[in-house]
Symmetry: none
Subunit: 199 residues, 4 copies
DNA sequence: ATGTAAACGAGACGGTACGTCCAGTCTTGAA
DNA sequence: TTCAAGACTGGACGTACCGTCTCGTTTACAT
């Protein structure tokens, strides 16, 4: 996936930026509307008004394209807020994430994780491009909270984040119940209470 | 999935039990070894030494077959223990579940959830046949714990179970870290502390 | 190319005869109308109302299909006559061949020879299925003529047939002039005179 | 094919002669080695170390390029000899042609004729640039032979040339037998006998 | 014992999408 | 103005499986 700017060889016809954008938009639209079932390279090409070749030139697989489309759409949507309080920031962002994942974007994300089970490259792309960076951001917040004394030094940061975000992904993929704000709040309160209680 | 015994028409050649078993075994084996990518009806038929027709006669779709195979293999493996203490039972079972999901069975389960994102019928089959029954068992334990006074009356049982099992599914599908017993213990302790702390 | 009747295993769904015929007819029609340029497997499939798979199941390549179509159409058209006189038979057949090759069938034949230059299998199929059998028939006639004393024992049968048929193929492929009956007659007279004059 | 010198615009960068030669050489080499199957513009460009653009700028189609390459290589090889005797000249040249067509050049020629069946422009280019000029030379020889009384005034020159050259092309395209000198001699003797016998 | 009815193996069939190749066109910067 | 590089649209390739179908064969029970 050559979305970024690398050595920029400058030779030959430059990449068509409009096509790139159209492809990512089409990928997202299809994933949102029809889910992974209708997400074929041919469908994306048709919707974007682009030839299959152009897609294959820039993205090695269906999954890579899905991830790229998701990132393009998501990146602006889930920045962490900054309220001065780690816990407030965390809860606020958790609610925002739950809201986003409960909407169309959640279907895209679910599709990507599903595709990731089929194609390891997709999983890697998703983890490198999205999952791990988000986790790092979240870790930073928790660490800040520890510095400020809002959280105990004894908590296991990874476990804490798994406990907070895991349930959201779980409900997104296995709809045992709704992903609404009441639920998130109850969850956050409960889990944070556990963290606070740690030793 | 007509695995059960219904009106038993009794006419004609009876169903070949050996074939049924061979198919489920083959389905599991393929799902474990190659994941969802290699899980095609043709592959299952070939491995089971059975014709495609026979598979389609009894299972309506790939997903239904996967779920059936998973249930056949799983059912015996994750019964709840009974130690007299709800919390002990819960933790023990949680650890067992994590261990099982971290092994080959986890790959099968991941494949089923992935297929469920593509085909709603598969999701329904999985939820009806597996997810919800397990959840009911777990709820019963928690309720018993409340009765016995081990747990507060104020906890939200569903949230509690999401907080306990969600992270396991999360790590199974998005490998941000290992699914080992240390992690499960830390997680369980932390979440249960939160539940206990609930006023 | 399993056009003929072989061991007839009898197992499974029997081949759809109507499809086979439709495919051969479509192949011929396209070859006649558009030449080798428009002769794609997809076009044949579409015209025959058949899936590509069905074509590939029975014919290994474009060329094999073209040859099969040609044989199906041609076989009845160029049997040798039998006038009692070898030379008369020969000339009569030569004229018929020229007439046929000058028509739509000629375009099919030209296409096959062209495809044969690209794909050796096609050439082999054409030679085994058509060129050599025809040549053998012609040789038999010449041999009969020698037996009856109509032709000299000294002629080289292969050279004689090359001299008679070569020019027809030449004109068919390289249109330096028409392939009409006047020309064939002149040619036949001239060449046969040469044969008669041999020693 | 703008190989010749036209109005000489003189403006801008001049045509790269080395590229022109490299392209023709590459075209020939590929045609000889891999036949028409491997003869793609991209392959020629790669082998010649030239961009596709440059090829398309000067030759309108694959066939045109093939013909140009063939002419560049062939022109010097098949000039008519001059022994003073038309018949001797004719036979000598016939043998030379057969020898050449039986070698690598024959594969190129066969490829061109094949391509000509697919693309009329190629056929025209081949006929205008090669087939007809050669035929005119041959006709001149026959006419000279008639003038000198070596040949009858009654022979049909076109038929005579078809009878002599047709079989060579035939054997080149449909390998029913070798294209060796023994065969050519027998053929020439036989056909010329027929011409001589023509009243 | 004989018929009837469903299960089964085999494999042909119409389709969809795959990922690739090449055609022929275009857009850029350098020569 | 030519050229190298390489992006672009587009058509066909040959393959893999899908889910359906049509056979002939097998197995049981009901007559």
């Amino acid at each position: 996936m050559n979305t970024g700017l690398q050595s920029a060889p400058k030779l030959g016809r430059p990449r068509d930026e409009a096509a790139r954008v159209a492809i990512l938009k089409a990928a997202n639209a299809i994933l949102e509307k029809e889910g992974i079932a209708g997400f074929t390279i041919e469908a994306v090409a048709a919707r974007a008004g682009v030839s299959k070749t152009t897609i294959y030139r820039w993205w090695p697989s269906r999954g890579a394209l899905a991830v790229a489309g998701f990132l393009a759409e998501m990146e602006p949507k889930i920045a962490y807020p900054n309220t001065g309080s780690s816990l407030m920031d965390l809860v606020a962002q958790l609610k925002r994430v739950a809201a986003v994942y409960g909407s169309a974007a959640g279907r895209v994300l679910a599709a990507i994780i599903a595709e990731g089970q089929r194609d390891p490259h997709t999983l890697v792309a998703f983890m490198d491009g999205y999952a791990r960076p988000r986790r790092e951001e979240a870790k930073a917040i928790l660490r800040a909270g520890i510095e400020r004394g809002e959280l105990s030094r004894d908590i296991d940061i990874d476990v804490a984040l798994d406990a907070l975000y895991g349930p959201i992904y779980y409900r997104m993929l296995v709809p045992l119940g709704p992903l609404d704000s009441t639920w998130v709040e109850t969850l956050a309160r409960s889990v944070l209470a556990g963290l606070a209680a740690t030793k």
